[in-house]
Subunit: 239 residues, 2 copies
Amino acid sequence: MTDSPRRAPATRVGATPAGRRQLRRALASAAVDLFAANGYEATTVDDIAAAAGVGRRTFFRYFDAKDDVLFANHDEIVAEMEEEFAAADPARDPVEVACAAVGLVLDSYADDLDVSLKRFALTRTVPSVRDKEVATVDRYQRVLARYLQGRFEEQGDETASLRAAVAAAAIAAANNHVLRRWLRAGGTGDIKAAAAEAFALVADAFRAPGRDEATVVAVLTTATPLHEVVAQVGAVLRG
Amino acid sequence: MTDSPRRAPATRVGATPAGRRQLRRALASAAVDLFAANGYEATTVDDIAAAAGVGRRTFFRYFDAKDDVLFANHDEIVAEMEEEFAAADPARDPVEVACAAVGLVLDSYADDLDVSLKRFALTRTVPSVRDKEVATVDRYQRVLARYLQGRFEEQGDETASLRAAVAAAAIAAANNHVLRRWLRAGGTGDIKAAAAEAFALVADAFRAPGRDEATVVAVLTTATPLHEVVAQVGAVLRG
DNA sequence: AGCCTAACGGCACTCAGTGCCGCTAGCAAG
DNA sequence: CTTGCTAGCGGCACTGAGTGCCGTTAGGCT
């Protein structure tokens, strides 16, 4: 722990794009391991760089700041979300599209679970890391809001900007809630199902202007017995 | 700009609690002015302390970090919100109570408008300040969520935790939207009215469990002409 | 094989944040 | 008025994050 555990000479890895990605991953991986082992504050950038076999200066060529290393793939996910929005069927419900897009975040967390769990432990204990995560989520949320605003304006919504901001916040909150619950349980259980359930609650609340889609028209003959009316109406409303 | 503009000798101001508050305000005021004049990064903590007539070390006795000085009254507002919740009528709609509580944030922003405007300019241009603000908002939001969760659980809501998180996020987003729009306009216009309108949208979406209140049961004879049915149903739904 | 680009490491610097300590203003007791 | 104690304050020194600069050289390209 006192001697420098240089993994490899790592001579000029970043010459090729693939090499750059590889070194990025190596740095992120080393950082997460050191944070988990020795704590966030106790781990210096020097330690991380040394563990990845590069110099301290090189670390800052791959990440703008120490805490960026914990949210290394953030930019990729945002880019994927933008693509998803660009390719989305304009006929689909905007809120539904937005929910599908944040599903990408869930996927990325599920993809490497051990990193997610270690990061989760840090976000719960280290205030500065928590703040960083909140800022990261805010960026997703802004992307969501921008998309929703565009769609709502197409629908001729007067308060598109406000509704977009509120809906984006609600979707992000639902996503985070599901994510945190899942991580707290150690990554066991079906996140996608839990997310779908949570998103249903949000989508339900933020349908197109008003709550018109929530209206059910029942057509029954006057001869229908009461219990049958209750059963049929109930089935539609509760189901 | 090069010579140190020490305002006063400021000998032992913080001896009394009132003196401490005074110095806190002086530091915050000096900081905001310097940030606005020379930029956030270009202003060092030394500059702020010197402008307030104290040593650099003293600054850090009043604020934990440089960026804390921009959100000096954050803790007070959170405390006020907690009080508001503790004293709230348990019969009132939880979402309504939460909306009233975030109104305190609006009030504090309106109380010293020039500081709010300068801070707003910074949050729009300096990424680190933006992140700090987002983290600050997140703290309000967590307080809201905790209150709402308690109330929803009282109501026997199965998904209290989720609904609380989502509702809190929606309320915070609505509040921020109104706040930012108002600040962008230079602090002119009626915020409280705009806020009430925005909160109405949120409250509408997050009523008690389900959408039961949105259900309308129409009872009409089969002899009723179609246009009359449409008119009566329409009147209820649109009104 | 040789050039030439750019990745890398290292140095030096600024500034945020912290522990430590000596100083003294201001209050209390005699 | 004097003495003693307390605590706010300033200053010093240190660590660590983040940045500009530059010499070196690995490695791709011709």
